[in-house]
């Protein structure tokens, strides 16, 4: 599993061990990991467990890491694998369909008129330089806010799809929904996310 994921840096003796025994560093790292895990698992207890296990795994092999960055990359890689396993194998982990936004009026942003065409104010504008936004730290805060704004089931399948890069079949299996339900959720998530990003980030970059 995660233990096989090693970053390319040349391992140097010792000092990572001291990072992991530094309570401030450790607490900070744990908090970041937990946020990451909760976002994807939507279950605090499971997220805590996954983080705990990932940290224990890291401590066992910590001697080979020198730089904090390398250590963190590696710890997060372990965590990501644990989350993936949980998502894949704990099928009862969430009943997306039951708490689904499929029946939720809010779920489909009312961006279309009754005939199914864009409302004037909701019609997507062209995004200027979407790729360059990636280099702006402020953009990531906007992105996070937009993600958290997704209804839970939409957010979860979206992250499984686009963050963890599971394919549709795997997602359908692990959350026990049909492909067409998944596609509905992803469509809605994308509509919502793009609207949020355009409203809060790309709005001033409209290219005519």
């Amino acid at each position: 599993m995660g233990e096989s994921v090693l970053p390319g840096e040349a391992p140097v003796e010792q000092s990572a061990a001291s990072h992991l025994t530094d309570p401030v560093f450790l607490e900070d790292l744990r908090r970041q990991m937990l946020k990451f895990a909760v976002l994807q698992l939507d279950n605090e207890a499971q997220a805590e467990d996954a983080v705990q296990e990932a940290l224990i795994g890291a401590l066992k092999n910590v001697a080979s890491f020198e730089r904090k960055a390398a250590l963190k990359t590696w710890v997060f890689a372990i965590l990501k694998h644990k989350i993936t396993d949980l998502l894949r194998y704990q099928q009862r982990w969430v009943d997306v369909e039951k708490q689904s936004d499929l029946a939720d009026d809010e779920a489909l942003p009312s961006v279309f008129d009754t005939r199914g065409f864009w409302h004037q104010e909701d019609r997507p504008n062209r995004w200027a330089q979407p790729v360059e936004a990636i280099d702006d730290a402020h953009f990531w805060r906007v992105f996070e806010v937009c993600l958290e704004d997704l209804p839970p089931a939409q957010g979860r399948v979206f992250m499984m799809r686009e963050f963890i890069e599971l394919d549709s079949d795997e997602i359908c299996q692990s959350v026990d929904i049909s492909a067409s339900n998944l596609h509905v959720l992803l469509h809605r998530a994308r509509l919502r996310l793009r609207r949020c990003l355009e409203e809060h980030w790309f709005c001033e970059e409209v290219a005519s």
Binding site: F112, R126, D135, H138, M159, H183
Partner: protein, 76 residues
């Protein structure tokens, strides 16, 4: 002709499964006449790239996080 809701749905589905020739043709025709959906199609691709980058950064960003934003946060 398809409406925008159907067109965006097909575009989204296109990231999940192979579309038929007919479906692809329908999208093509729709986007020729609809800038909004054409932009949507580009944006879901951008969002996918952005998301993957985000997931990557979450794993290893923390050392950079302290350096603060590179820009001033003002788009454009």
């Amino acid at each position: 002709m398809m409406n925008c809701e159907q067109a965006t749905r097909l575009m989204s589905d296109g990231r999940e499964r192979d579309l038929s020739l007919r479906e692809r043709a329908a999208i093509k025709i729709h986007t020729l006449m609809c800038d909004g959906c054409s932009n949507f199609n580009a944006q879901i691709h951008d969002i996918s790239q952005i998301s993957r980058r985000y997931a990557k950064e979450r794993e290893g960003q923390e050392d950079q996080a302290n350096t603060g934003p590179k820009g001033d946060g003002t788009p454009g």
